[in-house]
């Protein structure tokens, strides 16, 4: 056996060009699969770390209309739904697993409310209390955060996130600039950005798309001024900070149930409060990106099939070329099994060589992809081992026919061919 492997290497080396061309299909197929698998893994890990926890442990509970989060921008306040009162917040904070609850107003996609020198800002506008930034992990880049008197005196001040700042005020400081919001002048006092030391702080699927889609960013106002700009008595969302990551789902559920009960909302009514089940959503997103990549794997699989057929073809040629050698070996006492093993080993060594090269190219391709397109990659050792094992199998499967042909060669005919 060892003898066979040694001889196979010898054979591959003495026909370098042919060997490489034969292996090409396998190399490409394996490389593609490794690159795709690495991307899938990287993507999955990114989604997971982005969506879940992100060391803030905050679950968002928002009003839904059917399947979709209710967006005030288009429809105004849903009838019969009242704002959550401060007493309720205190009740909610007593629930199991809940550490803190903060209410905020939001309009996710405004397009003709906020202007800077006649240019409309399109993005999200949030009316927040003084704990929002802390909860969602925002830090101040420059300027200042909202202070107590901003709330008390209902000052017309605004804070931008870094994305919004860059899109409205490209190349200059927004601090002290005036935005026109619903016809009222607001002074920009600060710029914040989400903690990106570990991962982008993404707390919902919407946020994830915002993050991925790289939209125009967010504009923050105090919740005290909100009714003057938008509507009075708008329904809010609740940011629920759980005591730890594991408690996030239950805390969200508890708050959701409490709010629904308080406002007589249920699955039968038009509206309902729902918490983002982040685990579930992370999984959904992962499945989605997996599904697309699965198709790519099929395509790579076809390339492997073609590669395997290429190997079979070359092995058949090799057997024909080496008819005399086979005949001689049989004449001096080599059994069928040995000839079969010799050619199977040759095919397997050839394809496993291709597999190893494929893995190397795949890893390189994955890294290049992640550099160019910003797709994260995660190199998976099991995937590499499976890929090499798989290429050995391809060698054995597609090498079988030629090897059997060799083993069954009639030594007389084989010796006669000269």
């Amino acid at each position: 056996m060892l003898e066979n492997i040694k001889l196979s290497f010898h054979g591959i080396w003495s026909h370098k060009m042919r060997s490489v061309l034969t292996m090409l299909g396998i190399i490409i197929g394996i490389a593609a699969i490794i690159a795709i698998v690495s991307t899938i893994k990287g993507n999955s890990e990114m989604i997971k770390s982005s969506l879940i926890g992100a060391n803030t442990n905050v679950v968002t509970v928002t009003l839904y209309q059917g399947e979709w989060a209710y967006d005030m921008t288009w429809n105004g306040n849903p009838e019969g739904i009242l704002p959550i009162e401060q007493d309720t917040v205190e009740e909610l904070e007593k629930l199991e697993g809940v550490e803190k609850v903060s209410l905020y107003n939001s309009r996710e996609n405004i397009d003709s409310t906020v202007y800077y020198q006649n240019t409309a800002f399109t993005g999200g506008v949030y009316g927040i209390d003084d704990s929002y930034f802390e909860l969602y992990g925002y830090t101040l880049n420059y300027g200042r955060e909202f202070i107590g008197s901003d709330y008390e005196k209902r000052r017309k001040v605004a804070i931008l996130d870094a994305t919004a700042a860059a899109s409205i005020f490209p190349g200059k400081s927004p601090i002290g600039e005036i935005l026109e919001i619903s016809g009222e002048p607001f002074t920009v006092v600060g710029v914040v950005s989400q903690n990106t030391t570990t991962a982008p702080n993404i707390n919902s699927v919407q946020d994830y798309y915002l993050y991925v889609g790289n939209t125009n960013g967010k504009l923050f106002l105090t919740n005290a001024i909100w009714p003057m700009v938008f509507r009075f008595d708008e329904v809010q969302s609740a940011a629920v900070k759980a005591v730890n990551t594991d408690a996030m789902t239950t805390a969200g559920k508890k708050v959701e149930d409490a709010l629904n009960e308080k406002m007589n909302l249920s699955a039968e009514t038009d509206y309902i409060f729902k918490s983002q089940d982040l685990m579930e959503q992370a999984k959904k997103l992962q499945d989605m990106s997996n599904a697309t990549n699965q198709q790519l794997i099929w395509i790579a699989g076809i390339s492997l099939l073609v590669g395997g057929i290429g190997v079979m073809n070359i092995m058949l040629v090799t057997v024909t070329e080496r008819t005399q050698e086979i005949g001689l070996k049989k004449a001096i006492g080599a059994r069928k099994r040995r000839i079969l093993a010799q050619f199977l080993t040759e095919a397997a060594v050839l394809t496993s060589f291709g597999g190893v090269l494929g893995v190397i190219f795949g890893v390189v391709a994955a890294n290049v992809l992640s550099q160019i397109m910003g797709i994260p990659t995660g190199i998976s050792i099991p995937a590499m081992l499976i890929a090499v094992a798989f290429s050995v199998c391809i060698g054995l499967i597609f090498g079988y026919l030629p090897a059997r042909k060799a083993a069954n060669l009639n030594p007389i005919d084989a010796l006669r061919s000269e």
Binding site: E3, H10, G11, S14, Q324, E325, G327, L328, K329, K330, A331, I332, G333, A334, R335, K336, R338, P411, I412, L415, E418
Partner: protein, 239 residues
Amino acid sequence: MILELKDVYKEYTRGKMAVPVLKDISLQVEDGSYIAIMGPSGSGKTTLMNLVGCLDVPTSGQVLIDGVDISTQNDDQMAKLRNTFIGFVFQHFHLLQEMDALENVALPLLYAGVPAKERRARAEEALKKVGLEDRLRFKPSQLSGGQCQRVAIARAMVTGPRLLLADEPTGALDTASGEQVMEIFSQLNEQGMTIVMITHEPSIAACAKQIYHIRDGEIRMDGQERPGRQPDEKIEEVE
């Protein structure tokens, strides 16, 4: 009786036609014989050799090797017989080009399941016997025709077979190399090895103790058993 052919009939089918090559061949070869088989081209000499060498089976009749009917043997048993009992020498040597002399000679031992160290030792010894101890690591492409044939003889005898089959062993060699090969054959025969050799050349056939002729699918012995020409003797015109 090391080798016995009983009413051997062999035909090849060419298309739908059956072409008889050997018709009713009977032959008995005693242990320690040295026979030459002559005959015109296409007369079936190689066909006969293949039957004797367990590479093929007769259409009818029996080939007995050391008393065993080869038609009762399966593939693996035939392979074993070829490996241990029979040694082959071909006109065109059939050495493996990518292996050196030592590796070529050791190959039958690999198939016999001999461990690597012993393989090497025995192959070296066999090469010594044919006078190539200083060419162990030479590849066939670096050896002369005569040297190649001597490597092939070493390979044929390395497993210690009792029967040596040679199909025109000097056919591709010059006279001097041919004589060298004949010398080795004579030595082997003296040591007790049975040799069956096919040749076109009367001077080579004269080295054997018995000469057979094949013609029209039939075999006939050429005169009585005689001592056989010593290869280093002056070559005379026979026939």
